[in-house]
Symmetry: C2
Subunit: 356 residues, 2 copies
């Protein structure tokens, strides 16, 4: 790795928050990684500087035309004091796929991972020791050129900020309810649903408010064409265990290719549990709840890891899954992934990367 | 109007750009209007201050989850030295519809218009005198709360920035070619296609690059479900004159409700020219080009006003419209709207608002 990173340390470090009360995405560490892009110089001026507000021209294109992509991954503290990243290469690859879709400049995989390792090393004291807690890592690129007119920006900022986090849901590990959304649509084939961009989240806020009013933590999105097939949950991919087999929506261009999703599929294969990626009609899932063949449902995502789904709210009523309890396979997957992430279980698949 | 606006004048005014070389959205004036929102105080601290970079926390939610809406309108200098806005109430109303869809706080119509009048009055010297040039006005709201986690922000910034502009297209008033996009999709029913948000533009950049390679200035979007019906052009609504009748896609929830579109429909009604809003299949339009019944096509939008479409690129070839020339009705509409906007024609419909 040849990237040279200038490091400017903060003179006044913040007090660390109570690890029992981290919540999600509320605290930020003392430093951040920054790097600029312009068409003449490419990516340049890699630096780690004190976390502080950034200056942007009010005409910066990110505010007007939405060129903004991000990733989310986590750093974990092991019992023997090492700090591990979980599959950062997968985030790097998806980051670049998002860049390509949104006409933004890519960052080579090695540079992306090295930037993250470097900032996490500087902020090592911020990686929580508490089980279930971690340091959430948010790399993002935004368009900075000050110009109005719809076209790709000529300048960008790449930043990596860090936030010590606990559970994503207030419910902790308790199963969450999910509301099947039949009016609003998240994404459609030919759109940008498989890019990790700010633009994919804003449209879902209204559906999320409606879901909350129905006692649901998240929205289950259906496809935009037929409004019949399951796509994903607000911030997770989704899996169902029906009659001993696990099924998850196939990647169709409008679904996010989740790193935890990939990891779950791989683990199930390792364990010899049947798993398929396919088109899944919501009606078939609801029928399986009714006839008792739907054994478990869970969401997967970096923020929530593995989250049991306790109920599907559809057609005005709640369809309870597995008596609203965490299923056996859901638990096993949660334990396996968090165990590998925290270095408690053997990482036979080579998923973790040491930050040291 | 009871809003009190604090005004801080810039000590160093910029030189004004050459009115013959304005382009679009490249120059910004000396001041901007700002106002903040938080859940406790609502909208507060209305102020006009020197145009300058703004500070944002790197975790500001606009960068991550896309809460960003905007409007575009113009101020025109009349021959007798007055400054006119064109239907700012329509922009205010659409601004609030966008806010509602994206779970952002609305700004009452009167405040919105008064903010614009106030900043334009301060920047009166920046309103170009040259025919066809104007002062483009960009009001926008962005989410500023520093937090990760998908939910509406608790704080926002409303800003109005100003840019003296010439023609939107490099081509000037010359007809532009439009490429019919059959792979990528802009928006779908149930999505956010009818909100004026940054999120609706970023997905189109790739299609726009492909269009440019086919010698087209813009993309013609088809519906996301059947990919058969015309929706809109990249930054314009679109009209066709077929057999003496004018037709434009009906507002279906995924199309932007353009102010120029509304104005064109109203003018055509005034003039006794048949105009309908309907579902329009691209195949029917291409057939009308072929059999010679398609007389004219034009796009409408604040930036481009009325822009003749000289050719539709579809299925690998260019279908030339009206021999690639500006049609009679297109010209008449352009003259009428720009005439009313600049105070050269009588404003019998009460569309202009004096900034004085």
């Amino acid at each position: 790795m040849t990237m040279s990173i200038r490091i400017e340390k903060s003179g006044a470090l913040k007090p660390k928050p109570d690890e029992d009360k981290l919540g999600f995405g509320s605290y930020f560490t003392d430093h951040m990684f920054l790097m600029n892009y312009d068409t003449d110089k490419g990516w340049h001026d890699a630096r780690i500087v004190p976390y502080a507000p950034l200056q942007f021209d009010p005409a910066a294109m990110v505010f007007h035309y939405g060129q903004a992509i991000f990733e989310g991954l986590k750093a974990f503290r092991t019992n023997d004091g090492r700090i591990l990243l979980f599959r950062p290469d997968k985030n790097a690859q998806r980051f670049n796929r998002s860049c390509e879709r949104l006409c933004m400049p890519e960052i080579d995989e090695e540079t992306f991972v090295e930037a993250i390792r470097a900032i996490v090393r500087v902020e090592a004291d911020w990686v929580p020791a508490k089980a279930g807690a971690s340091l959430y890592i948010r790399p993002f690129i935004i368009a900075t050129e000050p110009a109005l007119g719809v076209r790709p920006s000529k300048s960008y900022l790449f930043a990596v900020i860090l936030s010590p986090v606990g559970n994503y849901y207030g419910e902790g590990l308790k199963p969450v309810n999910i509301r099947v959304e039949s009016d609003f649509v998240r994404a459609v084939r030919g759109g940008i649903g498989n890019a990790k961009t700010a633009a994919n989240y804003v449209g879902g806020l209204k559906a999320q408010e409606i879901a909350a009013a129905d006692n649901c933590a998240q929205v289950l999105w259906l496809d935009g064409v037929e409004r019949k097939y399951i796509e994903e949950v607000g911030s997770m991919n989704v899996f169902f265990k029906i009659n001993g087999k696990v099924i998850t929506p196939a990647l169709n261009g409008s679904i996010l290719d989740g790193v935890t999703r990939q990891s779950v599929i791989r683990l199930l294969e390792e364990w010899g549990i049947p798993v398929v990626e396919a088109k899944i009609a919501i009606d078939d899932v609801l029928a399986a709840v009714k006839d008792g063949t739907l054994e478990e449902a869970f969401g997967t995502g970096t923020a929530a890891v593995i989250s049991a789904v306790g109920g599907l709210h559809a057609n005005g009523s709640m369809h309870v899954i597995n008596r609203g309890e965490i299923g056996e396979l859901t638990s096993r997957l949660y334990d396996a992934i968090t165990g590998i992430q925290a270095g408690k279980l053997e990482d036979s698949l080579g998923w973790t990367v040491d930050c040291g």
